[in-house]
Symmetry: C2
Subunit: 448 residues, 2 copies
């Protein structure tokens, strides 16, 4: 039931978004609630293939309701005793699934913020002084993304961070971690694996090979709110550096003489305090007006100093409860099923005239493809054909939204013109929903 | 019902936090839910005075439940048509309450992240090139906090950001905005007002004077999840710079020749695109694989490019619904009542032997005070007295938690030893709860 912004703003069927400042009656508030859901998009619908996060897991939903009801903050054990411990338990579990014997981590509002945390940590690892003295006076730091590693010249700059992706957003591709890790080790560089989307394959015996070597990473972002079906928001940052290891200085000094100048022992007593976790060492402000150290309980369970946030939403209970309810096997089944359904779609696309895969062998639950309407199939001029093809997905998408029958995302990528990206991450999807993708795109696009 | 971390981790009365990997029965899951709430802290209890966020507003709770049920993301109108428009409506309303005719803003996961957004925006305002070229080659930037403004020498550095606080975390103090704004105007510096805690006084005719001049700010952080009682998380960043005004360059060039070198017209076409909002200009990545521009609806309502986040939780509906239900007057009544109850506590403290206010005239809903147990009241050596006093609040606090009757925070501040900070932000608090603060502290601390 699609409406344009101006239609909704004008007030449709009496549904007004305005805040007049007057108090409305309870009846009106109930109507508001109903309308808000009514005009929203049903992300839990089995024909919503638009985003990496979809579905509506009832257990994690119930946990999120209880979380709202508990209405507390993660920063201290004092006001969130159960939730801070749950976070600790879940983080340990996730670390051990990655393959680390020890480690620590944090839940933050999303993968992007967690990736930011990883960058700050990596910088702190190589140049802890920066936290106190700023970037000036230190060599320029450079970070790399998987595919650019081997191409770059360093010329007086310090490589400090490489990010590999386990499950890219569009294609669902997995970087080869052991290869990248080898280069990182050689140059003493922090390796972060962004497994926001792909991390879930660690739950599957069948598909875990996609992230072979992930235990070699220094840090990992893993979003249970994507493939693991936990309701939004639920995203973890994990690191194997439970404490700052002083040996790093030695390693780096040997392998990277270029940064020697800045690796003087810190003037700041806490920088190389080896009993402190790296997240805390990196992000703490020592604000004892916020996080007192003279409390009567073991304050190592207070998490406030581990983040750049002050208040932090409780995101762990959703995952904890879902895990208790489903067990490892529940997540495994879910991942396997989503990938199996995606493979089924791949087979259908290969067999159906007018459809073409963007990458011939999708590894994960992303299936990227073009639909060529009959009118452009036989065009011989490739330039014109691709210009026209570029407009097909946006047009079909607009028809999808106006028809309200299905939602699939599209985007261009590099030199590739607009294509559909179909995601299966919802346990409610079944084979006939996959069949429907093909027939519905044909129905909506045939006449273009 | 306080338990130490090791007690809860060991499993109390059969409540285990462990994730074994096995799936538990539905009965066990229900027991888990019950226990999670049972061993948690009741932040909605009228004798929980520990944090700035307290209470449990039923309307915003209901809205948060529906938000979880809708399980969507704020980044595009496409998947959150109602919520993105609601955000627009609420942001406009908040801007107009500040006193701006126009403006824009965003809800982010908390006040700290919003303050970070303000810093990035201010830097972008004065040195848009930094986004593309990094900090090197540009003059060093300096930011100031209210009380340090006049003391600082600039010596080759560029002041670019001043933050004033409207309602400090501990004392609840309000900086004089017009005075600070005058200095900022003189030096062409961005003024941010952190009204995370104090912003709510704008809803009160009686107390609005505390933030006189707030409309002079360039940006404001305002957390409805604190004094406005909306359940966590709900925090807004607002700016009066709806679009990047090119005149700024002129201003800054005239008043601050020191930064002239970097204010060359940008090589990057979009930096001075005056039709684009400042948040977007500052934070966008132009990632068309995420946020397509060729959609069939008005994509100016897509918010994904306004933040450094990718996914963004829906935090606005809670506030929108509460606002519809209570009206402006509902918030006003709430703020007035919390301050009135705090004044009542102030009067009681003044009259009660053994109690002493930290700041004699609290302006807001923070009341900071010491309790002197009889044994230290008559000590003549001030050093010993304060050493002993420093241990009183932590000890009484531990007894509070073990007794489970009341929770009040404490902290030291500058040269002031540990004192209690009592916060009233919960509509369920009544006069007898305030009376209880005094009698309970006396009961728990008398024998020290
Ligand atoms: C004045 C002030 N600013 C910012 C914050 C941070 O807000 P949040 O906890 O939402 O990050 C607080 C929190 O108490 C505060 O008191
Ligand atoms: C590979 C990857 N990393 C990070 C993110 C960002 O995660 P979030 O939306 O939780 O910020 C995404 C989101 O789609 C992603 O696909």
């Amino acid at each position: 039931d699609f409406h344009h912004p101006h239609q909704l703003l004008d007030g449709i069927e009496g549904f007004s978004l305005e805040i007049t400042g007057e108090a409305e009656s309870l009846e009106q508030i109930l109507v508001d609630c109903r309308d808000t859901l009514k005009y929203g998009v049903k992300t839990g619908h089995p024909r919503f293939f638009n985003q990496l996060s979809s579905g509506l897991d009832i257990i994690s939903l119930a946990a999120d309701w209880l979380t709202s009801t508990a209405n507390t903050n993660m920063f201290t054990y004092e006001i969130a005793p159960v939730f801070t411990l749950m976070e600790d338990v879940v983080i340990r579990r996730m670390c051990s699934i990655i393959g680390w014997e020890d480690g620590e981590g944090i839940f933050s509002p999303g993968g992007s913020i967690n990736n930011l945390y990883a960058v700050i940590m990596a910088r702190h690892y190589v140049m802890p002084e920066v936290k106190y003295d700023g970037m000036r006076g230190f060599p320029e730091l450079v970070m790399f993304q998987s595919k650019h590693i081997l191409q770059s010249k360093l010329a007086g700059k310090v490589p400090f961070y490489v990010t590999a992706t386990a499950g890219t957003t569009v294609i669902g591709a997995f970087d080869k971690i052991p290869e990248i890790s080898g280069i990182c080790k050689k140059y003493g560089v922090w390796l972060h694996v962004d497994a926001a989307w792909g991390g879930a394959v660690m739950m599957s015996q069948k598909h875990r090979h996609l992230v072979t070597g992930i235990e070699l990473a220094d840090s990992v972002t893993w979003n249970p709110h994507k493939m693991m079906g936990v309701v939004l928001q639920c995203s973890a940052l994990l690191t194997r550096h439970k404490v700052l290891v002083t040996a790093v200085m030695y390693d780096v000094i040997n392998l990277l003489p270029i940064v020697m100048s800045c690796l003087v022992l810190s003037r700041h007593s806490d920088v190389r305090n080896t009993s402190q976790g790296i997240l805390e060492s990196c992000n703490e402000m020592n604000a004892d007006y916020l996080f007192q150290q003279d409390k009567h309980y073991d304050v190592t369970y207070d998490t406030g100093d581990k983040t750049i946030q002050c208040g932090r939403h409780v995101d762990v209970f959703k995952l904890w409860l879902a895990w208790r309810a489903k067990g490892d096997a529940g997540f495994e089944k879910h991942v396997d099923r989503c990938i199996e359904l995606s493979r089924y779609l791949v087979r259908k696309i290969r067999k159906t005239r007018g459809f073409e895969l963007v990458n011939p062998e999708p590894e994960y639950a992303n299936v990227c493809f073009w639909y060529f309407p009959p009118c452009i199939r036989n065009l011989s001029d490739e330039t014109i054909k691709h210009e026209k093809l570029n407009k097909v997905a946006p047009l079909i998408k607009s028809r999808m939204m106006e028809n309200g029958t299905i939602m699939i995302g599209y985007q261009p990528l590099g030199s590739k013109v607009n294509f559909f990206r179909n995601i299966v991450s919802n346990p409610a999807v079944d084979y006939d929903d996959i069949d429907f993708i093909i027939t519905e795109i044909e129905r909506l696009g045939r006449d273009i």
